[in-house]
Amino acid sequence: MSLAFLLCLVVLFVIAAMGAPIAYAIIVGSFVYLAASGQSIGVAGKVLVDGLFQSFILLAVPLFIVAANIMNAGTISDRLLRFCIALVGRFRGGLGHVNILASLVFSGMSGSAVADAAGIGKIIIEMMTKSGHYTRGYAAAITAASATIGPIIPPSIPMVLYALVSNSSIGFLFLGGILPGLLIGLVLMLLNGWISHRRKFALEEPIALAEVPKLTFEAFPALLMPAILLYGIYGGVTTPTEAAAVAALYALILSAVFYRALKLSTFYSILVSSARSSASVGIVIGGALILNYIVASENIPNLVAQALVGLDVSPLTFLLSVNVLILLLGCVLDASTIILVIIPLFLPACRELGIDLVHFGVVAVVNCMIGLITPPYGILLFVINAVTGIPLVEIIREIWLFLAVLVFALLLLILFPGITLFLPQLFGYAG
C-alpha cells in the first residue's frame, strides 16, 4: 500500500466522518491520491464520467426508483394490503402476517426497501396500531424487518449496484434472490406467530369469505406485476434494465388508468423526487468508480492474491468473517456505501478462493439489508420514524428478535449456497 493510497483513505474517512456526502469525500480523497502519486487530478473526473456513461446496467436504478414512487403514490399498495388481510388476517398475529406477506408481494414489484417501508409499511403500521392489539413499537419493528425483503426478491436496486462492481449477471443475481427472500419471509412469519402466541395478541375480525373474490379481483392487476416482470426478463421480452422501465410503465397505467388514482401534478412530483434520488445515488456510484480506479492503479487485486496464497484461509472462514464485518459496518453505514465501496475490496479474494460471485452477492445484499435495521444507523428505522412519528427508542426496543432471526437466515444462506444457487442453476447458470 503506497503512501498516496494511505493519505487518500485518511482524507476520505475524515471528511466523510464529518458528515460530508460520501461521494464528495471520495472525490476529494481521490484528488489527494492522484496528486500524491504524481498523476493529474483531472483523471478523477474523467474516470467518473467515463464510468457513468458506459454502465448500461445502471440505467435500471433510476427506472426502478420511478416505479417504486409511482406504486406508492397510486392506490396499488392499499389494494394489495386488503388482499393480504383477506388471505392471512384471520390467524393469530394476523396483521403481523399481513405485514410480512404484503412485503413479499410488494418486493416482487419494487427494488427498494425504503419504498416498501414508506409506502405499504406506513399504511399497515396505522392499521396495526389502530386495531389496539399491537404496540406501535412492534408494528414498526415488524414493518422494518419485513421491508428488508424488498431488494432481496427481484427486482432489486442493490443487486444492480453489486452487478456493476462485480461484473456478474443481473439476471442470475435476481434469480438467486428469490428463494432467500422467501426464506426470510418464512422465518419472520414463524417469529411473528411465536410472539403472537406468547404475548397473546388478540385475534382480528376475519374478513367474510364472500368478500375474498372481490378483493382478489381488485388486487389482481397489481398481483400480475411480479409475473410480468419475471416473464419479461426470463421469457426474453426485455433485458433486466428494460424490465425496470416496463415495471414503471405498468405501475403508471395501473394507477392512472385502471385505479384512476394518479393526478398529473402527482406524476410531476414523482418525476422530480425520482430525479433527485437517482442523482444522489448516481454520484455515489461515480465515487465507487473512482475508488475502483485507485484500487486497480495500486494493483490491489494482485497484492490480495499474493497475500491469500500464504494465508491458507478456507472459503467458509472467509465468508463468515466478511459477513461479520459487513454486519458491523451495517450498524454505521448505508447499504449503497457498503456495496459500492466496501464489497469491491473483497471481490479479488472471493475470485481467488473460488467463492461463487452470485452466491456472495446475494448473501452480501441480504447482509446489507439487515444493516438497514441495525441501530444506531438504520435507514429503515429513520424512515418509519419520519413517516409515522413512532419514536426510534420504541422501534429499536422491539427490533432485536427480528434481527436475530434475520441473522439466523443469513447464516443459513452462507452455509447452504444451494438455497441461493438452485434457481440460477436451473436457468443455466454455470457457476
Binding site: 456526502p21 460520501i22 493529474s40 487530478i41 427506472l63 430525479a275 447499504a335
Partner: protein, 187 residues
C-alpha cells in the same frame, strides 16, 4: 434572494423531471421497437418503425443519465438527500458541527474548483471523438465533449453551493440538520 432563487430552483427541477421522463419514455420506446420488429407486418407497413432507425435509444438514455446525475447534484439534490455518514455529525454540539461544515465545505469547494482545469484538459481531445449513435438524433455536429460538458457545470455549481453553506455556518444561520430518509429509494 428568495424571489430570484425560487423560480430558478423550480426551473432546475423541471429540467430534471423532463430528463427523467425522457429516459423513461425512451426505454419504453426501445422495448416497443424490439417487440414490434418481431411482428413482421409492422415494420413492413410502417418502415420508420425499423429497429435500425432506433439504434440511438441506448446511448441517448446513457447521456440522459449522465446529465441527470450531474445536473441533479448541481441544482436539485438537497443536503439531506445525499448518502452520508451522519452519526458523528448529529452527536456533536452545534459549534463543532459548524466547524465540520466549514472544513468539509472548503475541502469540497476548493478541491472541485482546482480540478476544473485539469479535467477540461482531458475533455478537450473529445472534440474529435464521435458518439456511437447520437448523431442520428442530434445531427453530425455532436461530439463526446458536448456530452461530457455537463460535468464542468457540476464542478462550478457544487463549489458555489458549498461556499454559500460555509458562509452560512460562519454567520451561524444554518437550518436544523435532518436525517436522510424518505427521499432515499436506493436501498
Amino acid at each position: 434572494m428568495n424571489r430570484i432563487s425560487k423560480p430558478l430552483l423550480q426551473l432546475a427541477e423541471a429540467v430534471a423531471a423532463f430528463m427523467m421522463a425522457a429516459m423513461f419514455a425512451t426505454f419504453i420506446l426501445q422495448v416497443v421497437i424490439r417487440y414490434t420488429a418481431r411482428i413482421v407486418w409492422i415494420p413492413d407497413t410502417f418502415p420508420w418503425l425499423e429497429p435500425s432507425n432506433f439504434g440511438w435509444t441506448l446511448e441517448f438514455c446513457l447521456a440522459l443519465w449522465l446529465w441527470l446525475v450531474f445536473w441533479g447534484n448541481a441544482f436539485v439534490v438537497r443536503d439531506q438527500d445525499h448518502v452520508s455518514f451522519d452519526i458523528l455529525y448529529f452527536a456533536v454540539p452545534d459549534r463543532v458541527r459548524r466547524g465540520f461544515i466549514i472544513v468539509t465545505g472548503l475541502a469540497i469547494g476548493i478541491g472541485l474548483l482546482l480540478s476544473i482545469d485539469p479535467t477540461w484538459d482531458r475533455f478537450k481531445i473529445l472534440r474529435l471523438k464521435k458518439t456511437a449513435t447520437l448523431s442520428d438524433l442530434f445531427g453530425d455536429w455532436i461530439r463526446m465533449r458536448d456530452v461530457y460538458a455537463i460535468y464542468i457545470l457540476f464542478l462550478i455549481a457544487v463549489p458555489a453551493r458549498y461556499f454559500w453553506r460555509v458562509w452560512q455556518a460562519f454567520r451561524s444561520s444554518m437550518s436544523e440538520p435532518q436525517h436522510t430518509s424518505e427521499g432515499r429509494l436506493d436501498e
